[in-house]
Point group: C2
């Protein structure tokens, strides 16, 4: 981006604030609306609540709607901005938003508030939005928008162009025109690129692409986003069981889904939500502490277990210097396996691939454990001139890595089965859990060896 962007932004912000202070609506509209809607949203967010009150008088609900669609993506607490507005103004704004974005906001705010706005809207709009609100959060239905360009197969290219021109203001994208039959069942698609190349009289039927990729309204959003990515689509049609066209999902929403999915996997692996970062360390700490304290208590069970082996440690203190090595290495192996499993589950492959993954991880764990165990037993044997100790450490390492690797892929699979997001079975959880199993394995092996060789 040009280096002067920030400078420009500040300058425009100042100008805008000046027009607000001087109550100069005309000048405000000229400067404000000349920006991209994303920049309009950034400007709006920089204003004080008092300044925003003036903006609500300056901007029509229609113009505010385009701004609000971008604020909704950027800001955690949209409710605050809604409550500043006059209720009727807010309702008009919702009605002017693309249905998918309006639904996103209405889902986030309190149910009572949402109902209030829905009541103030034209019946047709509120019915449409209420239908969309019924779809579960992670489905294609909750992501789709209903403003689409659809024509009948017996119409001509000229008709289609007319329709595109009429819908250009309202529809989220006019670059794909969907073809339906009398019962509104999806039959084909034509791109605007193809439309402008054809003579007006051509029948839509003759040039439409009949082999089309579509998704069902209850399909998973992540899956839908992946299709858009794979096929390089700008939009994807959504149909019900009877193939009736219900709406479309556009590429900008697909990007958001892909990014959110990745961020949530990533956050889970670290045990911290990287998306909602506060500039206040007190708030940051308060968001990280629940995980830290929970894991602290889980870690206490490892300490409790260790305390049962205190006598062995007191007699063979050399054992204690390898505890962190075994728990640490097994934890690393478990995290590797976890990361692969969570990512695999995110792509929602078929049932039998779960079992394949598990078998694959068992074998991978055995091989990794074998190589690492052999390595460490040789290193310890040479270092400590004690080959029995080497064998204890090596064997413990082998078992601990194998168990951690299996646990790393098994736990997210189980969580997915019982309907919990496996991204929450995060890295710290697996490594803390693997501390416990590793210590158990280590001292059980050590105890048996000591009993066998020392007595």
């Amino acid at each position: 981006m040009a280096d002067n962007t920030n400078y420009e932004f500040d300058e425009i912000l100042e100008q805008i604030q000046h027009t607000i202070a001087t109550d100069d609506r005309e000048q405000f509209l000229e400067i404000f609306l000349n920006n991209h809607t994303y920049d309009q949203a950034q400007l709006y967010l920089e204003l004080t609540p008092e300044e925003r009150q003036v903006v609500y008088h300056f901007l029509s609900p229609m113009d505010m709607a385009t701004v609000f669609e971008l604020i909704e993506e950027d800001v955690e607490d949209v409710e605050k901005y809604l409550l500043e507005m006059n209720e009727r103004y807010a309702a008009k704004m919702f009605a002017a938003m693309y249905a998918d974005n309006a639904v996103d906001v209405l889902q986030e705010i309190k149910e009572d508030e949402a109902k209030k706005y829905l009541k103030l809207m034209p019946r047709k709009t509120s019915t449409e939005l209420m239908e969309l609100l019924n779809y579960e959060d992670s489905t294609a239905g909750a992501l789709m928008t209903t403003e689409i360009v659809a024509i009948h197969e017996l119409q001509t290219v000229g008709d289609a162009m007319m329709m595109v021109k009429q819908m250009a203001e309202e529809a989220e994208t006019v670059y794909y025109v969907y073809v339906v039959d009398e019962e509104n069942r999806l039959q084909g698609v034509i791109t605007l690129r193809d439309l402008i190349l054809q003579p007006d009289r051509t029948l839509v039927k003759d040039i439409m692409q009949e082999r089309l990729v579509k998704v069902h309204v209850y399909d998973d959003q992540a899956e839908v986003a992946q299709i858009i990515r794979d096929y390089d689509f700008l939009a994807l049609p959504v149909v019900d069981e009877d193939e009736v066209l219900l709406g479309i999902i556009t590429v900008d929403d697909a990007i958001d889904v892909i990014d959110e999915e990745a961020t949530s996997d990533y956050s889970g692996l670290a045990g911290v939500n990287v998306d909602s970062q506060s500039t206040n360390p007190l708030i940051s700490a308060s968001k990280r502490l629940p995980w830290l304290i929970t894991l602290l208590f889980l870690g206490m069970s490892t300490s409790t277990l260790l305390s049962r082996y205190e006598e062995i440690i007191a007699n063979a203190s050399i054992l204690s210097i390898f505890v962190t090595l075994i728990t640490g290495t097994a934890g690393n192996a478990g995290t590797q396996s976890l990361a692969v499993a969570v990512r695999k589950l995110g792509t929602h492959e078929e049932e039998d691939s779960y079992l394949k993954l598990l078998i694959h991880e068992v074998l991978t764990g055995l091989i990794s454990g074998l190589v690492t165990g052999l390595t460490i037993s040789i290193v310890v044997g040479i270092w400590q001139h004690n080959w029995i100790l080497g064998m204890i450490i090596g064997l413990a390492m082998f078992c601990a890595i194998t168990v951690a690797t299996i646990a790393g892929s098994f736990i997210p699979l189980v969580m997915d089965k019982i309907g919990v997001d496996p991204a929450v079975a995060s890295g710290p959880f697996i490594s803390t859990l693997s501390d416990l199993t590793s210590v158990l394995i280590y001292f059980t092996i050590a105890k048996h060896f000591l009993e066998a060789f020392m007595n």
Copy 2:
């Protein structure tokens, strides 16, 4: 996606294989080209090398180009497929590909091979590709394509539509038309949506959007992708220092960048490349082992350190049961801080925000450490009826968490400064390193307490 997709795919694959076996070119083309290019690529990848040889005779280099653009995204080893082709055929295919995708492939294969293909292309095409090959991997230049629709500002909407129609076959997107002056400097942009709404005689100048977002050719790809995401663009123009329009970056490439960036951060956090998963456990293990063994030796330094405290452990074996608790919890805190820092660095914010992040993490570390330290000292005090032990553990926990939190954000910052991808300073590395510092902190504190209270 419809449940019958896989069934359909297998059926089509069979049909295709039949047309190949019977050398029925006409039938092959009819079935094969009726699929989406993504599906064409999937079908192609399922064929045997012998079958693919026939495909190279059936498909024109132009049709093969559209297939190859999608293979390039999906497959790690494209060279294998290239070597199957006749050199002239491959060169023609490269020339027919969108420049950005052709460059992606040419960058991946051996330099000699790439030169060979470039020599066989028309001069104009090879010059264009060689220019693009000069841009560094992570820059906007390496991501952009040069096939764009550009017109002069004094032309009319009718001219623009004519141009769009002419370019419809060649350009990667015709939905944005860029406006340039005589020196090819970018002046504005018009969407196809706007164009079709305007009468033919309107001057482009009068309806173009002059306030446009553009990127420079050396800008970072991640930054460019973020702009496309924020503004919901379908494409973004790329200019040089003189504002001369060089190319565009399309939304499908932006998605890939966002996804790759996220995957690489995620892989780094786990110490495993989740993108290249093999079905062979031996290969999987061999890819995970380098990290495991490296960290094993790093972990050995913790054991070496612990061995210096063996005497203390032998005398006060109770200390050893809290080692994993302290190293584990500090490791978790370090991973949290690391994840935030790596993500922050990924968005490439301004210089001064690095320092802000560090200060923020120091404070967050102190607060988290304080709360966790206090909690554990009370728990241990009550559990072991030993308040001195509680103080030792609590103080060690406080220091270890603070140090790990700072290290978690400081190390990626340093790596970024010296030009190493901070995503490599992965979770396992931080937690293994934090094991070392935590043990050092713990036993230093314990030693001092013991000396003070026991003597």
